[in-house]
Assembly symmetry: C2
Homo-oligomer: 94 residues x 2
Amino acid sequence: MLENNFSYRYKKVITMRSVTEMTNLSERQVRYYEEKKLIFPERTALGTRKYSFFDIELLIDIAEKIKDGLQIDDIRTKLMKHENQVEKMKIIQG
Amino acid sequence: MLENNFSYRYKKVITMRSVTEMTNLSERQVRYYEEKKLIFPERTALGTRKYSFFDIELLIDIAEKIKDGLQIDDIRTKLMKHENQVEKMKIIQG
DNA sequence: CGTGTAAGGAATTCTGACACG
DNA sequence: CGTGTAAGGAATTCTGACACG
């Protein structure tokens, strides 16, 4: 029992199949969002994609924004902005 | 971003492949421990097993106990005792 | 008892492409 | 632009069994 809860959210262990089940997206959609640099799954030695719980959350968020009429490029820009802000907060807060 | 970190530990999403990679056990071993009622993976609609991070921890724990010379039946007994104690603590505390 | 292995079938995942609009 | 689909190959996972000890 050495591991801590915190890492579970970011560990890439989830298969495409589970991703489609949890997000209600198609494989095509999930791969397309990767192609468009919105998500970054890891690959096993044999090339199968692995996603984290965080990726799942992100995909659900992305799907919602698309449904609201946003374009993928804009979503990526927003995500990157948000990421930058998190980084800045970290630096400011020390 | 609705989900909470806590559930990640128990959600069954990890494939056999990842389990063997993370635990260094063989598929045979993992299935045998299930046969012996030490772990309880879920099944997808199509019959493939899914494990949680908690299952991974448990398997690592089990592997250690076996290496120490314990028998599987004894390990199961211990695990169940521990579980009962956790249950009792919950009742006592509230 | 706990684990390895070969066997065959069924389901998964991948890539690149064509299609629609 | 974002998504569906058919195509074929490669790797995964499953079960039941035989083996060793």
